[in-house]
Amino acid sequence: MTDLSGLRSGAPVPDTTPHSGPVTSSEAPPPNAGGRQNRGDSADSLHLTGNRLPRWAPWVIAAGAIILGLLVQVTGITVVGLAPGFVAAFAFLLVQTATSWTVEGRRHATDRLATTLIYTTFVLALVPLLWILITVIAKGLSVFSPEFFTSTMRNVNPRAEGGGIAHAFVGTLEQVGIAALIAVPIGVLAAVYLVEFGKGRFAYWISFFVDVMTGIPSIVAGLFIYTALILTGVLEQSGLAAGLALAILMLPVIVRATEEMLRIVPNELREGALALGVPKWKVILRIVIPTAISGIITGVMLAVARVAGETAPLLLVTFLAQDMNPNPATGSQASLPTFVWDQISRGTPASIDRAWGGALALILFVLVMYAGARIIAKIYSPKAR
């Protein structure tokens, strides 16, 4: 306890550990005995140094905690009914915080505790993601074959092996394409209106209803198209109806994402262009949107990814199909999510394998779209040098 860090007023055990071990003696500068109270005695000392745990300390503690966890696992001793992993985690947190508090003081202990918690939550958030990815890849890859991508389920016994997703892939492509074709222009233009022109009541209500739309459950969007267009006979169950339902789901996501991106375009750029005598519509088209384009593309892709996996509304408005139906205007059309749903419900090993394959294909589809969008965004984004 030779310097400031050891004498934090909040330290709970300052006197039970009169010497904080070898760390102090090996690394500490000339001790400034007495800490805070006697600062006057060493006026030339600035109190800028403090004891720190050596770099390897957290690793040693972690190793110890893991060994403890393994011991719990092997011996079968239960510590208040906790699983070995939790025992190890709690032991690490406890020992590290305590050691740090004694050696480094309260601020560093809090820092280490917070750092550990943040990393832990990060890893916890990653676990489900990786788990899903690994499971889907492991189970889906086995059915991947040229046939799987080129054939449909036509004349294939749904309980037996064989068949493919070609019809479902074409369906998803068309339905999402129709949805994007409708929702992207309307969404981007609505956002432009809200950011560049929208003042007063009208803009307020648009913004309000966009928020309301964000909360619409996907099945409700499907029901809306079903009752408004299919039951009234305007459309039959078709890929077009599915595209309309997906467009409803896409629209608010695109409006919000685009709005955010347009709002962060600095006003100086708008004024700079206006001051050159450029009309407002051209300022928006040539300056504001190009500056925000990379963010807008990302937002659009997130919206596409969101609706590409929608199943419920599609079951209502286009149902299932086992055969290729390239025409979205008439007749039921398959899609990747409904294909997965259909195959799972068949319940045979072959069909469940196909379902995993469909799921993996869906993930890859979204991934490829996203990667493509990132590349496009990169090309158009403002360059610093």
């Binding site: 750029l269 001051a275 005598g277």
Partner: protein, 259 residues
């Protein structure tokens, strides 16, 4: 080519708030006038009302007249877009368009709004404008690079090149050097003295020495208190304003006793 500007009984509002009251001022053709005064006194507001950039802010409007060679810019049927093409503006912070290269930035005002009458090729306009802004020698080998890759002082000269590329009659500069180092400031000030031959220039500045160095005339603005409108206190030849101002508050401000 350049023109005279007359502000006549100009009141400038932000919504219901009267920001500047009763400005009467004449800026002679081919001269440099500087606007000085404490922060919040309305110098920038007056400047922005001269090329109708003021009204870009929602609710902002003016009463009175701004005459360009006798033609009221706030008259009926006057198109603010055409006003801004005649009266260019350079802002406090350099704002090159980030998606465009240096050359594209220079011709941004032209490419965005094509003027069929001009016969010069875009390359010629780029070179002429960059030479006009004393930037050509520094950037001629990297015209395709992004405008944001330049230093702050170069970016500001790029913005000046961009403003003069549309061939305005008047240049308004809103504290063009306040974000720049002394060397870049010197470059811009030299440029202002050169540009005077072709343009009428109004510059807002917080830098007394700068006003003294570059301007023929100086206008001093002040406000009597927070929430009160700003007023034009006095205007005259720079030498006179700096040595024998008519008003005590001008003298106090220039001497550094307030503001």
């Amino acid at each position: 080519m350049s023109k005279q500007i007359d502000l006549v009984d100009l009141d400038i509002y932000y919504g219901d708030f009267l920001a500047v009251e009763g400005v009467n001022l004449t800026v002679k053709a081919n001269s440099v006038m500087s606007f000085i005064g404490p922060s919040g006194c309305g110098k920038s507001t007056v400047l922005r009302s001269i090329n109708r950039m003021h009204e870009v802010i929602p609710g902002a409007h003016v009463k009175g007249a701004v005459n360009l060679d006798g033609e009221n810019l706030y008259g009926p049927n006057v198109d603010p877009v055409l006003v801004r093409r005649t009266i260019g503006m350079v802002f406090q912070r350099p704002n090159p368009f980030p998606t465009m290269s240096i050359a594209e930035n220079v011709i941004a005002g032209l490419k965005l709004e094509k003027d069929k009458k001009r016969k010069e090729s875009m390359d010629e306009i780029v070179e002429k404008s960059l030479r006009g802004a004393n930037l050509w020698e520094e950037v001629k080998d990297r015209l395709k690079r992004p405008g944001a890759s330049l230093s702050g002082g170069q970016q500001q000269r790029l913005c000046i090149a961009r403003a003069i590329a549309v061939e305005p009659q008047v240049l308004l500069m809103d504290e063009p050097c306040s974000a720049l180092d002394p060397i870049s400031t010197l470059a811009i000030e030299d440029l202002i003295r050169e540009l005077k031959d072709r343009y009428t220039i109004i510059i807002v500045t917080h830098n007394m020495q700068q006003a003294g160095r570059v301007s023929d005339d100086t206008a001093f603005f002040n406000l009597s208190g927070i929430g009160k409108p700003g007023h034009l206190i006095e205007v005259g030849p720079t030498a006179q304003i700096f040595s024998h101002p008519e008003h005590k508050q001008t003298e106090d401000y220039i001497a550094g006793r307030f503001g």
